[in-house]
């Protein structure tokens, strides 16, 4: 469409040329406006982190940073138990990731490479479980765990997180397993491999990037999770960062640059890894299921 337009513009009709220029200017203006609106909250987070609060705690605040400081991070770690919060998050996320990864491999293999009755039922089951709002599970689960004295443990929280990330992770890895050509599997089975050993020797090594993707998704879904953490953990020593951060108040006692620095410290890993993942997802989308 655009090629046609620009070709016509080159055919020296002044009216077409003007229209072309106007439409280009409009396009760039719209894109700039949309991008600025999208990015502004994140820009403001960075400005508020790196600028001393004497500028931001002033109305109207300057839109361009006047001065850059870096001591807010050491102040933050000195004034708040953020190191402990992050350690708790790390523990919960690591446990969730390990459990989720091992179960996902089994489920994805069954859903992708093996043929069996009940396979589409299994897929449907996974689909429905992930549609359910977490709040519906959390009340009965809280009551059950209260009676069993299982609340207030990091491991309990990891178990619940896995229940919610497992279906999605299986679907992601299934997509990657699908790209392993069926002929390769058949040949392995004919050569005396069982389907079980074929999983370890053939499918898994071919699906390494998919495993990374699943690790990232299961790790950071537990890292970001808030609802279960706020309900299932009551003692302050066990608080993960997602809950701990909400005790900071920008317009109360926490200096703004430390408040925003805390948000930045917490977000940096998920943002980087999700953006890396996203490229991987897009290429998976556009390449489709390329068979060897």
């Amino acid at each position: 469409m655009n090629n046609a337009l620009s070709q016509r513009a080159h055919q020296k009709s002044p009216v077409a040329l003007v229209r072309h220029v106007v439409s280009r200017v409009l396009l760039y203006a719209t894109i700039a406006l949309v991008s600025i609106i999208t990015i502004f909250p994140i820009y403001w987070m960075l400005v508020s982190t790196f600028q001393p609060s004497k500028y931001t705690l002033h109305y109207p605040p300057p839109l361009i940073p006047q001065e850059i400081i870096f001591n807010q991070f050491s102040d933050l770690f000195g004034n708040y138990p953020i190191a402990r919060w992050l350690t708790n998050s790390l523990l919960i996320a690591t446990m969730s990731m390990l459990l989720c990864l091992s179960l996902t491999v089994l489920g994805a293999y069954a859903l992708s490479n093996l043929r069996w009755k009940g396979r589409s039922l299994f897929g449907m089951f996974l689909l429905v479980t992930q549609m359910l709002p977490e709040i519906l599970i959390v009340i009965p689960l809280y009551i059950i765990y209260q009676r069993l004295n299982l609340t207030d443990r990091l491991s309990t929280l990891s178990l619940i997180n896995v229940a919610f990330s497992l279906p999605i992770c299986i679907w992601i890895l299934k997509g990657v397993f699908d790209t392993v050509p069926g002929e390769v599997l058949d040949a392995a089975v004919v050569d005396g491999c069982t389907e079980w050993t074929a999983l370890w020797r053939i499918v898994l090594p071919l699906a390494a990037p998919g495993l990374v993707a699943v690790a990232v998704v299961s790790f950071f879904s537990a890292w970001n999770e808030f609802l279960f953490a706020v309900i299932m953990l009551s003692s302050a020593e066990l608080q993960p960062a997602s809950v701990g951060l909400t005790t900071l108040k920008a317009t109360g006692f926490t200096p703004v640059e430390q408040y925003m620095a805390a948000g930045l410290v917490f977000s940096i890993l998920p943002v980087v890894f999700y953006l890396m993942m996203q490229r991987y997802i897009i290429s998976g989308l556009t390449a489709g299921a390329v068979k060897g």
């Binding site: 429905v128 359910l132 998920p270």
Partner: protein, 342 residues
């Protein structure tokens, strides 16, 4: 939310394959077995492999099904049972059966219907704003321009942020004293002082919707962009030759070509926004005076602020029914789409 989104992209392709009646891989399996019938020894080996083949998938799926039953299905069943009981957690007394009284209370409670109205308003607004913004940005970013790669990458940023820091950012931006948004609001005619953004009911609802949409729209945009790229270019060229203008191209070619994708996204957006908890909870807690109290918030408040667990489980059953209806729509659309692909 990110999680479901990633899963969704894969699922769109996967479900299409799953629903296909023809089982190519099985056909291939049988073929390779048929080709390889030489000795009785081999035959015996094959039977053995085949028997294992039949058991293995069930053994693989079993732990997962058990896990989900233990952590999701069992609690839901317990919740359903609990909605017919009175539960006192603090006194540790056994629950008492109370029949339908929780449901009677729910249906005769004007507050419940208000909560349902708020839920519907919030869900519809998020669908409209988030999918609308996704469509707008996808159409914009589908056109060639300089720095398109950077612009597309930057647009994905809100999606990649966790919900808790997103709310932290916006609580700061919306601060009535120092919030930066006031600078822009004061440019509007008639706004002479900083508004109490989260204390005015309609403004609070508007911000909750805007923030939820800001976080969600890049995903919709990405999926729509992928759909746009598969629209045959010849359609546009043919219509241009016939003298169609931009708007006609968009309305008569783009929209019909991506209709199934849009329908799916609308249903997905309704699921995601119906589930939304963290943003509303941290931003307004359901306030001011219930203006942003969706059913999910109401369930939380009933259970963990008023400690009325049995009434909360009854509300949970109502929420469960709504989410089942939306899920049924989703599955219906998925299988229709799968048939179109096949």
């Amino acid at each position: 939310m990110c999680l479901e989104e990633i899963g969704f992209i894969k699922r769109r392709i996967d479900l299409a394959r799953l629903f296909q009646p023809e089982d190519n891989q099985e056909a291939r399996h049988t073929m390779s077995y048929a080709l390889d019938t030489r000795s009785a020894d081999d035959e015996a080996k094959k039977v053995k492999v085949r028997r294992r083949l039949h058991l293995l998938p069930y053994m693989l799926a079993l732990p997962i099904v058990l896990y989900e039953v233990l952590f999701l299905v069992y609690p839901i069943v317990q919740g359903f049972i609990g909605s017919f009981q009175r539960i006192e957690l603090a006194s540790r007394q056994p629950p008492v059966w109370v029949g339908f009284s929780n449901y009677q209370r729910m249906l005769s409670d004007p507050e419940f219907w208000k909560v349902m109205r708020v839920t519907l308003t919030f869900t519809l607004l998020v669908i409209f704003v988030a999918v609308g913004a996704g469509l707008l940005t996808a159409v914009l970013f589908n056109r060639p321009f300089k720095f398109r790669g950077i612009a597309r990458a930057a647009m994905m940023l809100p999606w990649s942020f966790p919900e808790v820091p997103v709310v932290m950012i916006f609580l700061w931006i919306l601060s009535p004293q120092f919030g930066v948004v006031n600078i822009f609001a004061r440019m509007l005619p008639g706004v002479n002082e900083n508004p109490q953004w989260l204390l005015v009911p309609w403004l609070a609802m508007a911000w909750v919707v805007l923030i939820a949409s800001w976080k969600a729209f890049p995903f919709y945009s990405l999926v729509i962009l992928a759909a746009l790229q598969s629209v045959p270019q010849e359609l546009y060229e043919a219509a241009e030759v016939d003298g169609a203008n931009r708007f006609q191209l968009f309305w008569h070619i783009t929209i019909p070509s991506i209709r199934t994708t849009l329908e799916l996204l609308v249903v997905l957006a309704s699921i995601f926004s119906f589930k939304q908890f963290t943003i509303i909870y941290l931003l307004t807690g359901g306030g001011p005076s219930g203006a942003t109290e969706t059913i999910v918030m109401r369930i939380y408040n009933t259970a963990f602020r008023f400690y009325d667990y049995s009434y909360a489980t009854a509300l949970g059953v109502a929420g469960f029914i709504v989410s089942l209806i939306i899920t049924a729509f989703f599955i219906g659309l998925q299988s229709r789409r799968a048939q179109e692909v096949a």
